[in-house]
């Protein structure tokens, strides 16, 4: 609990401040005074952590009052609240915690309160909501159930994605410049990089995302706290598969892959990763289907393979397994349809014919 004393010779101003402070449950108003001299008399008895002080008071000027208060209570912080803007320098000399103009703007006052609560070791309560970052499909980040974060510029968004891409690792400044501002004069690019980092930090702050949750440390390393990052989960599941290809895990992988990595972006630095993840996905779906085939759940197996085929039509393994299913189930029509589609795609987009093994299975069905 932070004890606060309010001092202003104008009663309406006192009441206004009291009203503003009402919504901060950590702050207790231990005294309100229209006479600074009286306040000074009583202050030692109250020992507040914070004093909100007006500047222009007939009985005693705020700057002098602050001095006296600090003599009596050296650990107390002073926050000036005044219509006069020219005493800020004196306020600095007194190490006043803040200096706010009347009429008080809510946003500005929130800054004041943040400094206050931080100084007094009162942590902002954890929001209790999850921070969700999706790299599969459309790239977006945001609090669970809320609108995704709107980045200042497309470049800022790309920069964040890039830092995320290298999450937990330190990246050199030059690497970032090279990948995100290729061909731009170094000085100019560095300037833009600094702005970009600044805007990311500001945006995270605006959305109430604390540094412990997502923060950029020196050497441009993005550190994530308890954040739900779909690519991370995806990779974790993949690792878990090595020894034990469980259906549950494979289904989870399927659930996470809601689209290509950073789909719809034209960031060249993401290409390699996108390809790799796509291949991993296909591989996982083939494993999943095999597992279902073993359990004779052919519908399920087919479903997953068709889905994987849509994403990766060129992957031979997928068509191979699909045709095998149709061979087992005796579904000639489906086999023909799929084979035709596969052949067409290969021809139109790659200019090649289906491989031998595919050809063989198809022939076996017919």
């Amino acid at each position: 609990m932070i004890r606060a004393v309010l001092i202003d010779d104008e009663r309406p101003a006192l009441r206004g401040l009291e009203y503003l402070l009402k919504e901060y449950s950590d702050i207790e108003i231990s005294g309100m005074f229209t006479n600074p001299l009286e306040a000074i008399e009583k202050i030692a008895g109250i020992k507040p952590q914070i004093v909100f002080l007006d500047i222009n008071m007939p009985q005693l000027q705020g700057i002098d009052a602050a001095s006296k208060i600090l003599d009596l209570c050296p650990d107390t912080d002073i926050i000036f609240v005044t219509a006069y803007d020219q005493y800020a320098i004196e306020a600095f000399e007194l190490h006043a915690l803040d200096y706010v103009l009347k009429p008080i703007a809510k946003e500005r006052f929130e800054k004041t309160l943040q400094r206050l609560t931080k100084k007094n070791g009162i942590n902002q309560p954890s929001p209790g909501k999850k921070l969700d970052i999706k790299c599969f499909g459309r790239f977006q980040a945001g609090w669970d159930g809320e609108e995704p974060i709107k980045w200042r510029t497309e470049k800022t968004r790309e920069l964040f994605a890039f830092l995320l891409h290298h999450q937990g690792r330190e990246i050199s400044r030059d690497e970032i410049l090279d990948k995100l501002w290729p061909g731009i004069e170094v000085e100019k690019a560095v300037h833009q990089l600094h702005n970009g980092i600044y805007y990311i930090r500001k945006t995270l702050e605006e959305y109430g995302i604390e540094r412990s949750l997502a923060g950029i440390s020196g050497n441009y390393c993005l550190r994530l706290g308890a954040v739900v990052l779909d690519v991370s989960l995806f990779r974790e599941h993949l690792t878990g598969l090595k020894n034990n290809p469980e259906i549950k895990v494979l289904e989870a992988i399927d659930g996470l892959y809601t689209g290509e990595y950073l789909e719809g972006t034209d960031w060249p630095w993401a290409d390699l990763e996108r390809e790799q993840l796509s291949r991993h996905y296909s591989g996982a779906m083939v494993s999943l289907s095999k597992a279902y085939i073993e359990k004779k759940e052919f519908d399920r197996a087919e479903e997953h393979l068709l889905k994987a085929f849509k994403r990766n039509p060129y992957e031979e393994g997928i068509t191979n397994l699909l045709l095998n299913i149709y061979r087992i189930t005796g579904d000639k029509n489906k086999a023909v349809r799929h084979f035709m589609e596969y052949t067409k795609i290969l021809k139109e987009e790659l200019g090649i014919k289906p491989g031998e093994s595919i050809q063989r299975i198809y022939n076996a069905i017919n």
């Binding site: 306020a91 007194l94 190490h95 931080k118 600044y198 930090r201």
Partner: protein, 141 residues
């Protein structure tokens, strides 16, 4: 006997704006300035202060930001009123980087003190600089 006592660092708590540090700690001070009034005074006074380990003067805002980002000095001093240095903006960027870094502005005008408070600065020095006021930055007032 006297020597030995001088060498014992007395730990007292100094408040440093929005951060704390225990007196006797070795600190780094980075200055963003192209050589404005009072710079030589500041450098002289800083060199007299035993708790300060490193002082760097950097002329380019971007180089300054890079070094501060990497090396995280305990305090930065930023010149205002120089058209090559967007001082308040740089201050904001440092604040966004690390709230624990104490930001001190140096200016020959009073006008920016209010903005300095908004940025969350720890100190605002008016030129011509006074030794007491400068050294006061390293104590609680």
């Amino acid at each position: 006997m006297g020597d030995a006592i001088c060498k014992i660092k007395i730990i007292t708590r100094f408040e440093f704006g929005q951060g704390y540090f225990t007196g006797g700690e070795i600190i780094k001070v980075y200055i963003l300035d192209t050589g404005g009034p009072g710079l030589d005074k500041m450098l002289a006074w800083l060199s007299e202060n035993n708790s300060i380990k490193e002082v760097s003067v950097i002329k380019s805002p971007d180089t300054f930001l890079e070094r501060v980002e990497r090396e995280r000095p305990e305090m930065v001093i930023i010149r205002l009123g120089n058209s090559d240095i967007p001082g308040l903006k740089i201050g904001r960027m440092v604040k966004a980087m690390d709230q624990e870094i104490s930001i001190v502005f140096v200016s020959d005008e009073r006008d920016y003190a209010l903005d300095a408070y908004e940025v969350g600065a720890y100190g605002y020095l008016l030129c011509p600089l006074e030794r007491n006021r400068f050294n006061n930055l390293f104590n609680r007032g």
